[in-house]
């Protein structure tokens, strides 16, 4: 597999940005300054980035409640995201959406989504737009193992097949739907589910950027070429709870520590690119330093930013009403 140096650098930067963004949120959330709830994507970075590396701004994605990583992978700026998470006027959604509703339609980011299973039907529609407007775009639904049991998701797998849509269903299987293990909650197998709809199925290791990148590349090329929808099952793990504040009493002691030690996509990426002399350590170190500064600036900017004006309460409910 040949990957351009530029793609490698960009992808590493995106994964590092997600990691630092989320680790910083973990710390900042504990201070009580961030309203609402946040769901962190730490440990899953290679999935969003490995998929979105194949997409352009024309392509559409729909995300989940755990959406920060998908936003960053799709090119959404961290300043606007951080300000949004702090509920500030300068936020991407002017402080009216928050962590679970960050969207940037100009980049084909159709929104994080507070409803489990909310994204797959929307992605059928976005894929229909790509097909009928003939812009060669594809639409990608990220959804979790929890959402894989929602009727809306299963109906979408059927509809996308019936309409032969350029849609990719990326199942990010982190092993838990909130606190309940997917081994308990998911009957049968995801592979058999895809087969039940006559849909091709691929799977990959979500802690390995190269595994995701290669698999997603195949899937997206399949959808883009007009061959219809496809499922990509990404096996991965989350390092934090379902939400910040989740004591994770349902996980065995040491489970997360082991994941951090053995399944860190950033460590693995660094090892792989150095081993095959694709990038230099100095390249990666430079990105690490630059991302650190970027996140620091985003947090400082978000904290200092103004809150929304009271008048904004009533704005944008309707276009002209």
């Amino acid at each position: 597999m040949q990957i351009a140096r530029e793609v490698l650098l960009r992808s590493y930067r995106a994964m590092r940005t997600i990691r630092d963004f989320e680790e910083r949120l973990h710390v900042e959330f504990a201070t009580g300054e961030i309203p609402g709830f946040v769901h962190l994507y730490c440990g899953e970075e290679a999935s969003g980035v490995g998929v979105c590396a194949h997409l352009t701004d024309t392509d559409t994605i729909a995300s989940t409640h755990r959406g920060h990583g998908h936003c960053i992978a799709k090119g959404v700026g961290v300043d606007g995201m951080m300000a949004e998470i702090y509920g500030k006027k300068t936020g991407l959604c002017r402080g009216k959406g928050g962590s679970m509703h960050i969207a940037d339609l100009s980049l084909g980011m159709l929104g994080a989504n507070g409803i489990v299973g909310g994204g797959p039907p929307l992605i059928c529609g976005a894929a229909l737009s790509h097909k009928l407007l003939k812009d060669n775009g594809v639409a990608v639904a990220f959804y979790g193992d929890g959402a894989s049991n929602e009727g809306s998701t299963l109906e979408s797998l059927n509809l996308a097949t019936v309409w032969n849509l350029p849609a990719v269903f990326v199942l990010e299987d982190n092993g838990y739907g909130e606190a309940t293990a997917s081994s308990y909650a998911c009957a049968g197998s995801q592979k058999a589910r895809a087969a039940g709809f006559g849909m091709p199925y691929l799977e990959c290791d979500g802690s390995d950027f190269f595994s995701v990148y290669e698999t997603a590349g195949e899937a997206i090329a399949h959808a883009r070429s007009g061959k219809g929808p496809i499922m990509v099952h990404v096996h991965l793990a989350r390092w934090y709870g379902h939400f910040e504040g989740d004591a994770m009493t349902y996980r065995a002691n040491g489970e997360v520590a082991k994941l951090r030690a053995e399944k860190d996509c950033l460590v693995r990426f660094r090892k792989q690119v150095e081993e095959f002399s694709l990038l230099e350590a100095a390249d990666l170190d430079a990105i690490d330093g630059s991302v650190r500064a970027e996140i620091e600036a985003a947090v400082i900017g978000a904290k200092a930013a103004p809150v929304p004006e009271p008048a904004e309460l009533l704005e944008d409910v309707y276009v002209n009403y």
Partner: protein
């Protein structure tokens, strides 16, 4: 101008908008009707009541999409398509089926614009049949417009005649917000003169179908016709009524309702939906709060009882508001005045 049924008026609005704008597409269960069937006729039904008949033949499979019986997926797809450049008109055959896809309407389409800070537009129309009177029983007869009216971000339209249906549907398709367009299933064969050319009727502007001095009757959808019948009969007894057709429940033309109540001092509201938290209750609260001093009598609401819609005709007839019940309510508010003066 020509004589058209409610059904034809809706079909014509869809057709003319599809001709005007290639981004307008239709989807729903059997909107063509006949995909994959053994007759080989793709445009077999045009919807269960034939409303979309002929559009598949004219516009083809990319513009008129039959869906699986799978409301969550295709209503969600309509929302997603609307947010990404198309202008879908999705049909939820009987609006009662919204139970299968409410998330896609309530939590997705309705919220995008506000929740995304004003940067999303969702030009989506959801059409569906509503209303009792067909012995269609509890799951195919409900008048669920209050449910949608309750959700900020949705516009809700209830046309009261073929003329209203065409103008309001064209307005709905050109609107950049999600619009719920509810067609009373008993009215599909109602006829009146309807312009042949496209026209729009703005949302939030009530229509006065009768103007009088004694009582204001606010009625919704098919109830406008009942209110007119009642008003005409009462006029012969010397009671003159204003009949207000709000046309849309969201936005609601509060100003016109308040002006009419200020003129007449009496209010009867006729609403086919279940009485708790319905439009009659909403309008009553509006008037109680904003026009208390103008009232000469208590507000009366004519609604069904708070029960599911029954099947047997005798029970369904009892359930439904009708002109006689409206007349009784009007006489009651007029009688209240007499009591005060006595």
């Amino acid at each position: 101008m020509s004589r058209k049924s409610f059904r034809q008026a809706i079909n014509e609005a869809l057709r003319q908008e599809m001709l005007r704008d290639p981004r307008v597409i239709l989807m729903g269960e059997d909107v063509a009707g006949g995909q994959g069937g053994s007759s080989g006729v793709s445009d077999a039904w045009g919807g269960v009541l034939g409303v979309t008949k002929g559009l598949y033949t004219e516009f083809g499979p990319d513009r008129v999409l039959d869906t699986p019986i799978s409301e969550a997926s295709y209503v969600g797809a309509a929302a997603g398509a609307a947010a990404t450049g198309l202008r879908p008109v999705a049909e939820v055959m009987f609006i009662d089926f919204v139970g299968c896809c409410l998330d896609q309407i309530m939590n997705q389409a309705a919220k995008f614009r506000y929740m995304f800070g004003g940067k999303a537009r969702t030009p989506l129309v959801i059409r569906g049949m509503y209303g009792a009177g067909f012995s269609a029983a509890a799951q195919h007869s409900q008048a669920l417009y209050p449910l949608f009216t309750h959700i900020p971000g949705l516009k809700v339209v209830i046309p009261s005649s073929p003329y209203e249906a065409k103008g309001l549907l064209i307005e709905a398709i050109r609107d950049d917000d999600p619009v719920i367009f509810l067609e009373n299933k008993v009215m599909y064969d109602d006829e009146e003169d309807v312009p042949d050319e496209p026209y729009t009727i703005p949302f939030g502007e009530a229509n006065l179908t009768r103007e009088g001095e004694d009582v204001t009757i606010v009625a919704f959808g098919r109830m406008v016709n009942f209110a007119n019948q009642a008003a005409d009969k009462l006029a012969k007894e010397g009671i003159s009524c204003t009949v207000v057709d709000p046309r849309t429940t969201s936005p609601l033309d509060s100003d016109t309702i308040l002006d009419c109540v200020a003129d007449t001092g009496r209010l009867v509201i006729v609403d086919e939906s279940s009485p708790r938290c319905n439009m009659a209750t909403d309008v009553a609260a509006l008037v109680a709060e904003e026009a208390f001093d103008a009232l000469k009598a208590p507000i009366r609401r004519v609604t069904p009882p708070h029960t599911p819609v029954p099947f047997a005709s005798i029970l369904e007839d009892l359930y439904m508001p009708n002109p006689a019940k409206i007349e009784a309510a009007v006489r009651s508010v007029m009688g209240y005045k007499a009591k005060q003066e006595a």
